[in-house]
């Protein structure tokens, strides 16, 4: 029993793709660029001409399922296939999924893709059925990151590193206006 979340010290990202490869290898995600549980999004443009570039507006954002506490995908699924597990992770009853794609359409974060091997929609579940099931306390992306910019842990445990970092540093969530209450936080 935990309430897992993740916080990103996003400005440290060098966009090296280690997290993306580690995730694919750990979780056996099908090859193909459209199949991924997480990705790095290059936001903003480098403006100006070469000799006078403005690099300020560009940032690398860690993108994946935002683990909404009010998850639009969960509400949208006509088959009741999506649920929140004991660790606060939005999960899927695979046998109930018949690829209506309602969850994909409902997700404001584009977090889901079609897992063509298992005929379900898939997304990040914090390595719940791989690493966490094996007793690990880290996700594949978190532990491999050269910047160690991903804080993963129990938001209900005041002593956890993620709780402490969220207490001590300013942070924001993506698209807060939608009221989805994400459990992924971006540290300023």
């Amino acid at each position: 029993m935990a309430n897992y979340g993740m916080a990103f010290d996003y400005k440290l990202c060098i966009n090296c793709h280690a997290c993306e490869v580690a995730c694919k290898e750990e979780n056996g995600i099908d090859l193909g660029a459209k199949n991924h549980r997480l990705w790095i999004q290059e936001d903003g443009e480098i403006e100006g001409d070469f000799w006078n570039l403005d690099r300020e507006k560009i940032s690398f954002m860690q993108m994946q399922c935002q683990e909404c506490q009010d998850a639009p995908c969960l509400q949208a699924c006509p088959n009741g296939a999506i649920y929140t597990d004991d660790n606060g992770i939005v999960r899927l009853y695979k046998e109930k999924c018949d690829l209506t794609l309602a969850c994909m359409k409902a997700c404001p974060y584009e977090a889901r893709y079609v897992d063509e091997k298992n005929h379900v929609t898939d997304k990040c579940i914090f390595c719940a059925d791989t690493r966490l099931a094996q007793g690990e306390t880290t996700t594949a992306c978190q532990i491999t990151c050269p910047a160690k910019l991903r804080y993963f842990g129990d938001l209900d445990d005041e002593e956890s590193e993620i709780s402490k970092v969220l207490q001590s540093r300013k942070h924001f969530t993506l698209k807060p206006e939608l009221g989805t209450k994400p459990k992924l936080f971006y540290l300023e």
């Binding site: 440290l12 060098i14 966009n15 090296c16 793709h17 280690a18 993306e20 490869v21 580690a22 694919k24 290898e25 750990e26 056996g28 995600i29 099908d30 090859l31 193909g32 660029a33 459209k34 991924h36 990705w39 790095i40 999004q41 290059e42 443009e45 480098i46 403006e47 100006g48 001409d49 070469f50 000799w51 570039l53 690099r55 560009i58 690398f60 584009e110 063509e116 091997k117 094996q134 880290t138 594949a140 978190q142 532990i143 491999t144 990151c145 050269p146 910047a147 160690k148 991903r150 804080y151 590193e161």
Partner: protein
Amino acid sequence: MKRIETSRRKFLQGSVALCVYATSSFSFSQPKQSSSTVANIPYLCNMCRNKCAGFARVENNRVEKLNPNKYFPKSRNMLCPKGNAGIDALYDKDRLKYPLIRIGNKGDGRYKKVTWDEAYEYIKDKLVTIIDQEKDNRSTIAYCNGEGFNKDEYIKFFGSKIGSANFLDEGSICLNTKLGATQLTIGDVGEMDVAGSDYLIISGANRYESLITPDSVDMIHTKQKLVVLDPRCTVTALKADEYLPLNPGTDLAFCLSMIYIAIKEKLYDEKYVEHYFKDFDKLEKHILNNNYTASWAESKTHIPAQKIEQTAREFFSAKRPLYYLGRRSVWSANDFQLRRAMVLINALAGSVNREGGIIFGKPFVLKQEEINEPLYNASEGRFDLEGIVYGSQKGGSWLNFREKVISKTAPYPVRAMFIRKHNIMQNMPNIAKTKQMLEMMDLVVVFDTMPSDTAMMADVILPECTYLEREDMVMSFNRLEPSLALRNQVIQPLYESRSMQDILKGLGKKLSIPLFEVSAKYDEDLQESIKESGMRKAFMEGGYDLAELYKEDVSVRNKKLIIAQFGEKIYNSLKTKGVWHPYIEKEKELYNDYYEYYPKEKRFYTIKRDYKVNCYLKKLRKSGFDPMPTWHSRYDFTIPENSFRLITGRYVTSTQTATTNNIMLKEFKEKNYVWINNQVAKSLDINEDDYLVLSSAVDSVVIQAYPTNKIAPQVLWFAHGFGTASEELTNAYGKGASDNMIIEDKFEKIYGCATMHETNITIRKL
């Protein structure tokens, strides 16, 4: 518009074919057995030169996941994308699986599968004939090995045991100027303490896309001011506090101006200079007389004079400034003196043998096993350092060697080549000449894991196993926080592949007596010794048993060596954790699985040593070269009208050509694109994805365009590692272009290193 060279992967849906590939690791689709045996085995990565440490999770004898190893100070508990994709190198379907003998023409890829013994027999017959015809001149065999763990053992076999002087390695197409410049200026190649510096200048290196551990990781975690000079806005430049775009090949002008400002404004560490500098008066006079002012440097570099002055003043007033010396470094003809100027800047700031500078440190020195080396009177010396001032006696000069071989100006014919872990058909400029050289050989043997372009030129291909399938000899790492690390075997070699030691053992057994007999025919000293003590004794005592080093398995040799020098506890640490250092298991977690290894007061920032900073190198003056860093008008950045200067580099997901076929890494960069300035592209009506023909004096390639504001107007860039010619590399073949097809084979004369950024290019839209 930016979909090609950025990581907005959602956009890639449109540009990358949506074919459904096989899963990355086929066992994922199989149900996991509940009774599976799981082991976590410590290993050292080999996807690039870094040798980061990891633990391989093995389930039922299959590698399922590679994870970082927190114990290794060097790699700081991380694995990069390439390290993570090591599984796909191990299970690459295109791997070399069996020994092969060529049945077609060189390069056409037709081979027959043979047994190991048939391969050895073929090599023996050819080699005995060649060495007999060359009257026991063993140097008729050239042998080469790229960077890696087993290089020294390979040299022992072909150099010490077989007796050839012609060893070549990656140094002369990589970093020998930097190593030499540091050695000759401060008496040691040193190590840069990136983590300790509070002001870091990087020019000609891209540490966030060409990862070096611990440097790249330390840059992320250290709060320091980062200044980056580059003719291309790399990710390193993007993340820098200050980015100074400049003309290619003009970094030396910037450095000279920094030295000028330091001297003129007396910003240097006077106490340090007085104590350590030799010939400072000569340097001072030279720099001031040449008037290397900031406005002079602006005219060369395109960096505003005020920025140059600001940077110099900030650097010399910082507490622990570091001018990063680079690694893969030989860009321009002035490269040796550029690296010298960088060392001198560090020294002027007193940033040598202290925290945050170039440190000497205290690495562990491993004892070597002794071997009995035969003497071959007929073996001639190497010829590739003729006309080179210093050069590396170990790895020589590839371009000079190749030129002398193909022009038949070498003092004797080179007729056989043994090539290991070195894709020479892709790794050096002007591929046509490498092909010509290999076509001239009577015997080409390639040890590799993949059917590389070089393997396709071989008479015999010997399949080596990957780094996850073998134990290698223990290694010592780093100087500031020294450690020992061991590459343990994770699984048994797949197919019929073998470790290098096993390959050399088999080859040694096959070759020892026949080659000894050739020597006995020509070598008078050996004839005498046979007469005196008999054939058997002369063979044994003379060291002609080529497989001598391989009587015991690597694991047995390691155990003996490590226990004899360091004791059983350390051996056990290397076997169970892959690493040992004095503070292992006393690591302090700083935050979020990021650790401190040596306590600060125990790191070897400063050691007792007498050394001098040599401003003036007499040998250079005697050879007709500049004894001190000097600018010449021929270094000015000028190119013909309608031409571009080609520069090269890497993507973060690729290591030279070794990762080209990796099915996982291919997802991120399937092919390379040529970066062209967006305004220039517009004026030439070149749009994203357009096919361009790039032509140099040596050849042409076709590559798609990526117009961007991140590159200077007269410069083109595309990544190394693509455009492979081998059709056997099915994931890589036909994807992108090879830089070395069109880079001209020019080399500087101090170390004989290929200068990669001296080629001008014209473009034509297809």
